[in-house]
Amino acid sequence: MSSAIDGVGRSAASSAAPKTPLLRVEGLTVAFRKDGREVRPVENLSFQIGHHERLGMVGESGSGKSLTSLAMLGLVDAPGLHVSGALEFDGRTYDLGSEALRRLRGDEISIIFQEPMTALDPVFTVGHQLREAIRRHRSVSRGEGKRLAIEALAGVGIPDPGRRYAEYPHQLSGGMRQRVMIAIAIACEPKLLLADEPTTALDVTTQAQILDLLRELNESRGMAIMLVSHDLGVIADLCDRVVCVYAGEVVEDASLEMALRAPSHPYLEGLLKAMPRVGSRGTQLYAIPGSVPAPGAAPRGCHFASRCSYAEDVCAEPQVLLPSRTGGSVRCVRHGELDLVGVSGDPHRSPAS
């Protein structure tokens, strides 16, 4: 069985990691001082995204994934928080937290957030906000801006865009607001769209529609997408590759298929087991024991060891990312000895949708 996985894994890995990635994050660290000592909610985190790729970053809430996406764009500027690391985008290297990186934001990279409810300014019309975003990137007249804005609303599947243009966010449904957010985010025609839990606040049907819209934008515009979510079902629905984050570190990086069928890290296995799936009605839903450690409170060795049923003495040592049998990488010294269970079936027919 393991040899079969090896074979599939290698082919998937070669397509998942292209030669020159669109974006490479190297050693991203977010630190702040608490009670006199330095705490790092995100530590030395590295990953990459290929051109046109749809990457999913998964982890429980508190694992550092949202902070990662904010820090990448220099959106964490709270006093006392220190962001370091490097980011390579389209062949150019930027220091994280530098002014040059800030200029990438809203130009080459855009982001949408979880709460479409609060992500739009309640006292300006949808059209006004969209027009602002458009005119930031293109010097067009007000009238032309309006025309483009209405076009953009239509482009994200909003019916009757002319009327919606003049409405306020509170007059729109959650799904509509998220569509508006997407329209604003892609107004600059970015090469990469970060989507931070974009569907968490939406109902299942709307969730599927938004994911469809993202896939369509990815396919028609060639825009790469990084989807950050705690929900593997959502990621399985959209992404090609999965980066699994725990306690501010990457614990596994694998193609979607491998991640689902043959996880290498016990944490990913736990997340898979915790997914609700068709046919599991009546059986107790699995939950990983314990909870994500607060920043600075993780065990010194493998951060997951305290919650891991496979943990042994060797896990008390600091862990490094190792090549995994499935062609990705994994931060688990025991991954070779473990035979972890994934889910079967077509990954794009995700269990949650």
Partner: protein, 311 residues
């Protein structure tokens, strides 16, 4: 929006009714026989009868109220017991002085409080923020009349820069008026400046941390645009605070006018208390309540125009 404004206008009716009853009721708080209390123990029966007639004390309460209210609606607040002048005329003559220092103080709250609070909230924990917080803490705690006394002592009695007491109508030229208004306006307005600063700061701080501001930054909009968004978002809370200040300031004139020897309606009410000119007190209280009801109405209607969510 139009409907909600009309609805708001309609709520004025019961409030006005209640306010007039409260004002009318004030006179009924006088313990014992009002006529005796007013005229004093050694008053002649003729004088007592005169006062009873003037106050219509022989009628039933609803009748008295009806008479008083129907006159009040027509602008007739009765006659002063002290000077036999029309109450409405006296108030009318005294009102401009009060309005001038009140508006002066309100202007200071807006011109100092809002920008200071905005900068303090925008750059929280900066030196300006710390200064603004200190100023507003002290401003809220300082007794206005004491501040007035300090200002008079320093700027009028010692430095002779500004007049100590008195009042100058607007007809005498703006510069002259400003000279007389500035010290009272500062004394009166200190607490309001402090409150406006404080509330503006916390409104900015709250809005600044909202998701949509993060969105604006995420899509690369310049600070200028973000500034505009924050400003429009804090408009309603800040406007509410400024509206409340109008009420606070008008009340505080009662004490501050005494410090600066200003003949406004604030000092009128205090003087009338010591002269036992009850109808005059009643008249001033009513006029002040009307002014505040009017300000509240303007504030509420403005909200509905500014904030789409309240429509």
């Amino acid at each position: 929006m139009f409907r909600s404004i009309v609805k708001r206008l309609l709520t004025v009716v019961p409030t006005l009714l209640l306010a007039s009853i409260v004002t009318f009721g004030l006179l009924k708080l006088i313990p014992g026989d009002p006529a005796t209390v007013i005229a004093g123990d050694n008053a002649t029966p003729a004088r007592l009868a005169e006062i009873r007639g003037q106050l219509h004390l022989d009628e039933s309460l609803p009748q008295q109220y009806g008479r008083w209210a129907s006159h009040a609606i027509r602008g007739d607040l009765g006659t002063s017991l002290y000077s036999t002048t029309k109450i409405a005329t006296t108030i009318q003559a005294r009102l401009p002085a009060t309005l001038q220092i009140t508006l002066g103080a309100l202007l200071l709250s807006v011109l100092i409080g809002i920008p200071l609070g905005f900068i303090a909230g925008w750059r929280s924990d900066s030196a300006i923020d710390k200064a603004a917080r200190t100023i507003s803490t002290v401003g809220i705690g300082i007794p206005n009349f004491w501040l007035g006394m300090l200002l008079v002592t320093v700027f009028a009695l010692k430095l002779h820069w500004l007049p100590a007491v008195g009042f100058h109508g607007i007809t005498g030229g703006l510069g002259q008026t400003a000279k007389y208004v500035v010290l009272p306006a500062i004394a009166l307005g200190a607490a309001s400046i402090a409150e406006t600063t404080r509330q503006t700061r916390s409104a900015v701080l709250e809005v600044r941390n909202k998701d949509f501001v993060r969105t604006l930054r995420a899509i690369g909009l310049p600070n200028r645009t973000i500034f505009k968004h924050v400003a429009k978002n804090i408009a309603v809370p800040v406007f509410t605070v400024v509206g409340l200040q109008a009420s606070r300031l008008l009340g505080a004139t009662v004490i501050v006018e005494a410090v600066f020897g200003i003949n406004g309606i604030g000092s009128l009410v205090v003087d009338s208390v010591s002269r036992r000119d009850y109808p005059m007190v009643q008249g001033v209280v009513l006029v002040m309540a009307l002014l505040i009801l009017f300000v509240n109405l303007v504030v509420d209607i403005t909200y509905r125009i500014v904030d789409p969510r309240i429509r």
